[in-house]
């Protein structure tokens, strides 16, 4: 392991986000060549993309297949891990609060360790014309279960849904910050860094799903810009998807009004657009499924 004695969420996430940098187990190459660089050539720098359209969309597609960043996953994990509590640790209620928790935390008699601070707001309103349910889990925390698996979060996960007697259903959610639960082997197990908002409406005249924001997962970075799924488009969205090349350049796949997941792709500011495709239907399905909670 090239990073030793790392602990807590930061360390876990750092390793997760580090990708395969140390997977070969070899010593890192930190030797520097002698430098004869001159400042004169610095102004001529121009980044060149490392990936083609196919490579870029393949990487993004692989990332999408790791799953949609459903805020319910870390929320469910959090609530589940609270079951390892005892009478004293981590205290009353479902939030981690106080200076002691922020500075070292506590270890319950079950062996579970709780550390950091959280805010948890849960609403469940029913009986009226409109049924509303929501949760919002925010904070900066780490929970280690008795087997040593860790859930760490820095940011906020929220979700809400309302159902009207008319049959109209509206839902929304947000995934922001960095989160990891290393017991899992999906997107949350790998560790996610994101600022994603999504929403949906169904049951009325205007069924629609939306997705916006940025997502970093498994070394791939994308930004969803005004993605919208509407009826009659074979579950393909409109909008655009931006993807980051390893060089640091960003590219844009403009899905426009097409209904096949394809569109004009180009590196920002460079070259002519070319055709590329990205299958976002699984994300649409995942957002739609969240309307059934």
């Amino acid at each position: 392991m090239c990073v030793s004695r790392m602990r807590l969420g930061a360390a876990v996430l750092a390793l997760a986000l580090a990708g395969s940098a140390c997977e070969d187990g070899g010593a890192p190459d930190t030797a520097l060549p002698a430098s004869d660089a001159d400042a004169d050539d610095l102004g001529d720098f121009a980044a060149a993309p490392e990936w083609s359209a196919e490579e870029m969309t393949a990487a993004a597609q692989a990332m999408l297949e790791l799953g949609f960043p459903n805020p319910k996953a870390p929320y469910d994990a959090y609530m589940s891990l609270l079951s390892f509590r005892d009478e004293v640790c981590p205290g009353e209620g479902d939030q981690l609060v106080g200076q002691e928790m922020a500075q070292g935390g506590c270890t319950a008699s079950t062996g579970a360790h709780y550390e950091g601070n959280t805010t948890l707001l849960v609403t469940d309103e029913s009986g009226g014309d409109v049924e509303r349910r929501s949760f919002s889990l925010g904070g900066d925390f780490l929970i280690e279960d008795p087997e040593g698996y860790r859930l760490a979060g820095g940011g906020g996960m929220s979700y809400g849904i309302s159902r009207a007697g008319s049959g109209q259903v509206d839902w929304f959610g947000e995934s922001a910050g960095t989160w990891i639960h290393d017991r899992r082997d999906d997107w949350l197990g790998l560790g996610i860094s994101s600022t994603v908002t999504f929403g949906g409406s169904a049951g009325g005249d205007n069924a629609v799903l939306t997705l916006d924001g940025s997502l970093g997962l498994d070394g791939v970075y994308v930004q969803f810009v005004d993605l919208t799924w509407r009826d009659g488009c074979d579950a393909y969205p409109q909008g655009s998807v931006r993807m980051r090349d390893p060089s640091g350049l960003w590219s844009t796949l403009d899905l426009a009004d097409r209904c096949d997941g394809c569109g004009a792709w180009s590196i920002d500011g460079l070259g002519e657009p070319t055709e590329a495709c990205l299958d976002l239907r699984p994300y649409g399905s995942a957002i739609a499924e969240l309307g059934t909670w």
Binding site: R5, R7, A21, P28, A39, G177, G269
Partner: protein
């Protein structure tokens, strides 16, 4: 007419500068050797080095060249750069308890974080690499503590500060992607990285936007009912700075956070957030109007900016001249910068040139010097807390450390600010005049260091001796070795041969103290007196 118009618009030429060299009296060679040794190595010259320069003044240059290759130069550059980069603060949003560290690691944690960008720069400087590498390097410099808490590849078997590489995909951009820098210069949802942009401008191109004189007098009425965010992008008073700040702030969103106190958020780079700045600030990433693609591109734009090399020159001139550079220095700075650039932006050559300068070598002013020059030039420098610590450690083996805290390097429990140092937040430039608290810290340091030396050299009589080489607890003032020891101490500590009066005064002090507390107390008192002598405490 065009020529006249151009002339009318040309910047006003600086007033003719008083020839500085003619207004300043240089230090004698021995005191100059002492100044160079302290600035470049952090320790006093040895008796042998003093002897060599006393016998042959040409040895001064020989020794200066050796100092410029001394490994201790790296620590000195860290200390000198810290005075202007202000990264060695006592508390970050992320704290030691966020990691698997104990309370006694607190100072080591804070020092390590704050020194990370400084160590990178010191590495570039001392390894004779082009200074531009501080904003283009694909590495940083980290120690074992940072290896354990940050996503870094650190050499197997390495120890101390080593070249290390980030493993979280952040662009190769030297200090621009330094956790230490951005933990120090934090931001918030209202500030939107503007503080960070202002830090880059100040530190790398010496454009201090917050220090600019901005008058809102004519705009006050117009502020009523206008959204301040709109104002920043429309009002000429605001645009004077924000036209440059916003695009740079926009380029820094890979370091944006959603939880300010979350180590999971603050430790890693977030490439997917790079584009958020464009929406948040309404400005695409750019460097003074030139679009940039990511931080690697930004680093190269900064390095290619003519102000970058000038700023490096000013930064190191400020560090060694112990004062801010002023308009009257422009000609000197231009000349130094020209050579710096022509030589490939190598710092040792710049340090060589700066230590040749009249401003550096000044030990006084001539009777004919103007009041302006007399007020401006720092002809006697006070020991900084870092120097006080490194000298006493080298001489006596004593380090003022309590529960892991270097008491001369922190202000949580220590005395850094009281000793005229910089904490980076509340005190941002070193004091140059003696203060009451500085003298108190000096006195306590001198006493403790003297006690340590006497206990080691005379009471425990451990070998090898550290400072007292010729006497024992039974040596008397009438013994030749007694007077020889006093003379040697005077020579080593003050870089001046002791006069008969000096020796007599020290002997009188020793005799009085010995009568009261014995020989160990007497030597402790004599040594403590020398260690707070004005000629010891200044250089």
């Amino acid at each position: 007419m065009v020529i006249f118009a151009l002339l009318a618009c040309a910047p006003e030429a600086p007033p003719p500068a008083e020839p500085v060299a003619e207004a300043l009296v240089p230090l004698d060679n021995l005191r100059l050797l002492r100044r160079m040794s302290l600035d470049l190595r952090g320790v006093l010259p040895s008796a042998e080095e003093l002897d060599a320069v006393e016998a042959d003044s040409a040895q001064l240059d020989v020794l200066r060249d050796q100092f410029l290759e001394d490994p201790r130069l790296e620590d000195r550059l860290v200390a000198l750069l810290a005075e202007q980069w202000h990264t060695r603060i006592d508390a970050y949003d992320i704290d030691w308890y966020d990691f698997d560290l104990g309370p006694t690691d607190e100072h080591r944690f804070e020092k390590s974080v704050g020194e990370e960008p400084l160590r990178l720069m010191a590495y570039v400087a001392t390894h004779d690499r082009p200074w531009s590498e501080i904003v283009t390097a694909d590495y940083t410099v980290a120690n074992e503590l940072l290896r354990d808490i940050w996503p870094l590849e650190y050499p197997e078997g390495g120890s101390g500060w080593e070249v290390s590489r980030w493993t979280d995909g952040r662009p190769p951009a030297g200090v621009l992607v330094s956790n230490g820098l951005w933990w120090r210069y934090s931001t918030n949802p209202f500030n939107k990285n503007r503080t960070r942009a202002a830090a880059i401008f100040r530190l790398l191109v010496c454009e201090d936007f917050p220090a600019r004189p901005v008058s809102f007098a004519d705009a006050t009425e117009g502020f009523a009912g206008v959204d301040s965010a709109d104002r920043l992008s429309t009002d000429p008073y605001c645009l004077a700075c924000h036209a440059a700040i916003e695009p740079l702030a926009s380029s820094l969103y890979g370091f944006w956070w959603f939880r300010q106190y979350s180590p999971t958020e603050m430790t890693s780079y977030h490439a997917e957030r790079e584009m958020l700045g464009t929406d948040a600030l309404g400005a695409s990433p750019a460097w003074f109007g030139e679009p940039v693609v990511g931080l690697e591109d930004l680093g190269r734009h900064i390095a290619a900016d003519g102000r970058f090399s000038e700023c490096a020159t000013r930064t190191l001139a400020t560090a060694l001249w112990r004062r801010d550079t002023v308009l009257e220095d422009q000609g000197r700075i231009d000349a130094l910068e020209e050579d710096f650039v022509a030589g490939g932006m190598r710092v040792p050559a710049l340090l060589h040139a700066l230590t040749d300068s009249a401003e550096y070598r000044a030990g006084g002013v001539t009777a004919a010097a103007s009041e302006e020059v007399s007020d401006r030039e720092v002809t006697a420098r006070l020991l900084s807390p870092e120097l006080l610590g490194s000298i006493t450690l080298d001489l006596t083996g004593w380090a003022w450390e309590v529960n892991g805290f270097d008491q001369l390097g922190n202000d949580t429990f220590g005395y850094r600010m009281l000793a005229n140092g910089v904490d980076g937040e509340f005190v941002t430039r070193p004091a140059q005049d003696p203060t009451l608290t500085w003298s108190l810290v000096l006195a306590r340091t001198a006493e403790a260091a003297a006690y340590t030396a006497v206990q080691h050299d005379l009471v425990a009589a451990e070998a090898p001796r550290r400072l007292l080489q010729q006497v024992t607890l039974t040596t008397l003032p009438t013994d030749a070795s007694f007077q020889d020891e006093l003379a040697a101490l005077h020579w080593r500590l003050l870089a001046r041969r002791a006069s008969e009066d000096d020796l007599a005064a020290l002997t009188t002090l020793w005799t009085a103290l010995e009568a009261d507390g014995g020989a160990a107390a007497a030597w402790t008192g004599v040594l403590a007196a020398l260690l707070q002598h004005p000629e010891f405490a200044s250089y």
